[in-house]
Symmetry: C2
Subunit: 173 residues, 2 copies
Amino acid sequence: MECVANLELGQYAGSLLKMVDIPSYLSGYVDGEGCFTVSIAPRPILRVGWEVRPSLSVSQNGDRSEVLLIMQDYFGSGTIRPDRSDKTLKWEVRSLPVLIARVIPHFETYRLLSGKQRDFEAFADVCRWMARGDHLFPGGLTKIVWRIREMNPSGKRGYKSEYILTKIAEMKA
Amino acid sequence: MECVANLELGQYAGSLLKMVDIPSYLSGYVDGEGCFTVSIAPRPILRVGWEVRPSLSVSQNGDRSEVLLIMQDYFGSGTIRPDRSDKTLKWEVRSLPVLIARVIPHFETYRLLSGKQRDFEAFADVCRWMARGDHLFPGGLTKIVWRIREMNPSGKRGYKSEYILTKIAEMKA
């Protein structure tokens, strides 16, 4: 809770510190508005040819960004910036060390109550595999692509997993 | 917390009961996905000619409605049904007694951390004024219309407050 005390939330701060459990509140908020994503994009500089990028993002109308500031403070990281596609603000964490050290442990303790929990579990697996370098080798990357297929697709961007798997197989051959 | 124990949440129930503070989680979820609305529509059968309808609604993708079930259980009320406009499910409470007895006290204890708190405060005022019958008289209805003007407009539906205020003034005259 103490991290919220640093924020200037005006009239609300006094009373919310009394009752609201901030970690639970943030899990609830992320269950509604958050998105665990793992994108994979071509990156010729890497030996496997593909870069794996996990991120947690939370969007909010630009006129009420208070909870994004609390997120940033609570997790001690992440950037807040306007979303190109609409009039919202987006808080996003892409740092693998922060995801491993702060974000994943939080959501393992304060679990999501909806089916989004399954996305989180795949996300956490991928992050931990990346932390030990699996994504840098064809076998590990293949495993990651299969794990990501189980996640809720977030939008229409990105490469189809079949295409990536084919490319990895070609490289192995 | 005990109300959640009634739900069959499968693998999640065991662990979430240990850590997540359900009331705080639900406030966080509503901060992200919920909408406090007061609509006013013509109703010739009423002496003032207008009906005031407050509601709290929360939408969610139809494939993960778990949190809506928890809402329904926690507040002991509300309907869950498909939203006409998109592929979501919506939990909604329209009952004034339930709003007064369960919903408003909850959000006064587990306050919203975003600017949506201001919408809630106007909403709570209107519900309490209605509980004492203010909305049945031109003076009270006028006060309600002015209070609603301070709330975030939820979509483009509904009558403009200027129009309603003019109609009430004509009736008074």
